[in-house]
Amino acid sequence: MFGFLKKKARAMQLQKLNEKEQNKQNTPQKPAGPALTPNLDKNLTILKSTLGNSPDIVIRKFNFGPRYCYKAALFFVDGMVDKKIINENIIKPLMYDMHIVRGEQRVPLADIGELRNILLSVGDVKTVTLFDEVVTSSLYGNSILLLDGFSTALDIDTKGWQARSIQEPTVDKVVRGPREGFTETIRFNTALLRRKILNPNLTIEQMIIGEQTRTHVAIAYLKGVTSPGLVEEVKTRLNRIKTDAILESGYIEQFIEDAPFSIFSTVGNTEKPDIAAARILEGRAAILVDGTPFVLTVPMLFIEGFQAAEDYYSRPYYASFVRLLRFMAFFLSILAPATYVALLTYHQEFIPTPLLITMALSVQGVPFPALVEALLMGLMFEILREGGIRLPQQVGQAVSIVGALVIGQAAVQAGLVDQTMIIVIAVTAVSSFLVITHTDAATLLRFILVLLAGALGAFGIVIGLLAVLVHLASLRSFGVPYLEPAAPLVIGDLKDSYIRAPWWTMLKRPQLIGVRNPTRQDEQLKPAPPEEN
């Protein structure tokens, strides 16, 4: 039966492939699009018809030059531009300073580039010839200077929209370490990366994804460290994306991830430039998306969820302790309710007698089986959490208080839930926030394991964990095994896994990621007092 189904599936795949090929042939390569004409009015009419009569499209017509002989128009989108630049550095030089520069000579302008060279005091000015280019760059905050009699226009960088300033991100907070976070503007973000890595090898390649949104997406990597194969693969996967909109890096993530059906994420993300820089320095590639502070990094390992930026900034001993703590908390967060349910329904003999009596006392009179209780309380907590996140802060607090009262006190007093269960759920809830990256997966796993524990006891928990382990071991993220360095065992990389070894011992980059240039630092960097003679 399986063979038959497989064949059928394969046949359907082939058919789809064929159709795709045919579609490709039917849509020929897009032409370069119409070019600008020397007639200003005609150009403006075409632009108006392309962009419609939106109120934010501004066309400022003016004359300048000796005896105002040149007819010009400045074309920009209101709100996207810095008006001060337009007034001071474009219109003013053209209308006033031209007299000073050229006097009253009526030497005609040979080339529109001349204006750029002698008059416009703006950093980035390009010449454009196509309507498409004009539209695209004006929509991204540039101003277009069109001149009557020329079929080229000047594309002047006047970007200056209202943007959120660089702030401390709400996740990955640190006591010690940089507090700046990425913002919604891709240019700020690339700049933040450059500030961390001043090496010219830091390469940023930009592309536009999204048929409708035309979102700017950038790949950042360190030439000579990141393997070219990885960069190629990232580009291939990004180029594959033909979609309407990229509003957040999550869109990209879901188009390029290796295991779309896994509850575990195989693409990392961060809101902090120092984390992104550290990952790039290990040999990863970062994908920056305009419009979101979340930068993707690939490949991603399971262990990344347990590594916080501060581990590397603080001394190794406490950092290692916190690492172990996070592992413990992760297992606690997926296993605590399931274990409690299994103990209460199947394995009462595992519990020491005095503890059993205490537990029996707290369970006494509770009308629900332990499984139902665990599911109810777990759901209740998730509801409260979701409610607390989305609501405005003041209302969110109110929700938390009501929830805490309802769950913590009223339910126990009413005899609907036993006290020990409350403690178990509370411990679970708190510990699930220690490993933020895997919180989604942990939440789902927790419910699955509770169900298994309710049906099969400890046996069910073991089966569930085994299935998860097998699944994790089968995952790859851009060619790197997800469980590296545990499986496959990479001894050197264990220095930065369950513990965080001192910096002077971490001589190599992660072996499977930093293959291209494995050496991170010199040997014998161990600090020591100077030897006495």
Partner: protein, 382 residues
Amino acid sequence: MISLILTLMISLGGCWDRNELTSLAITTGAAFDKSKSPDLIALTAQVINLDTLAPAAVQSTIAAPPYWNIKTTGHTVFDCIRNASQQSPNKLYWAHNQIIIFSEDLAREKGVSEYLDFFLRDAEPRISIWVLVSKGKASDILEMDSKLEPIPSINITSLIENRRYTGKASAVDLYEFSNRLLSEATAPVMSLIELIGNGEERTPLLSGTAVFNQDSKMIGTLGEQETRGMLWVIDQFESGLLIVEAPGCDGQLGLEILNSSGRIKPELANGQLKIKVEIRASASLGDADCFVDILDENTWDSINKRQAEAIREDILISLQQAQKLKADIFGFGDAVFKKYPREWKDIKPDWEEIFSALEVEIDVQTTLLRPNMILQSVNKRS
């Protein structure tokens, strides 16, 4: 497809063996007495009564005991236990059972082996539960006036664990008892418990040892000193006090045993079996009720000698009693079997007789380690 199969597999499992904690009666003790009819078994099972342990009930003035003793009868032990569900709304749960008590008359007349089968065969009860013999009715023990620890059977468990401070009672779990019962030579033993005081204030006293024969019938008892002698030899003497005469003054010393080991070495020479018992013990000076000059080397040595002498005396008394009962409580027979498996075949049929006349050499070597916190006593009485 695969997930469908998995889902079906899990749901087909169908919560087999599921027991909600609220539907269980946690049994902590079992007592067997002679029943009126010789065919029937009388079981008293002690279950925890959670209602009276709840915080609200503890504060209330009505002092109901925190346990409930269910008395049932049946043809077998299992039958008794199942019959208990005619009285109890919750199923008896045996995984937390701590003790089994047999009344002395039952143990002497019927033997205990038929009662133990269920506890060894069934999956729920543990093999590490303590077995005891009670002087008087066993069910009375489970109804005793339990001080400090409200549940009698758990109280008794603590008493058994406390025997390590005195060495005056033995602690035998089901596993050890069964092993001894299955052995060809070693006599099974159990702890011995009785109630002292009268009326409402009947408190337990764990003291001495009950000795069984290979048919699991009780044949006699060991007193406190005899029990200590046995514990020395079978290497189960954990700690306890040795009371010896103080050298050089009129009073007594309490020596606390810190470490001890006992080894049995059988020797067969010219058809003559001889057992050598080697005891190594070290002690500290726990208290002195007269002025003993421990800074004097001779006094130190003489305390040490008296320590060894006291131990030897314990063992001798114990051996006498065992030989009188013809019960090899020390496991000499097993030691012989391990060392001389071929010769054991000849010895085995007459073992009881051989044992009762066995020559035992006791070699005790002791160390007095330290006088603890003070050197000379503040007590100047000589």
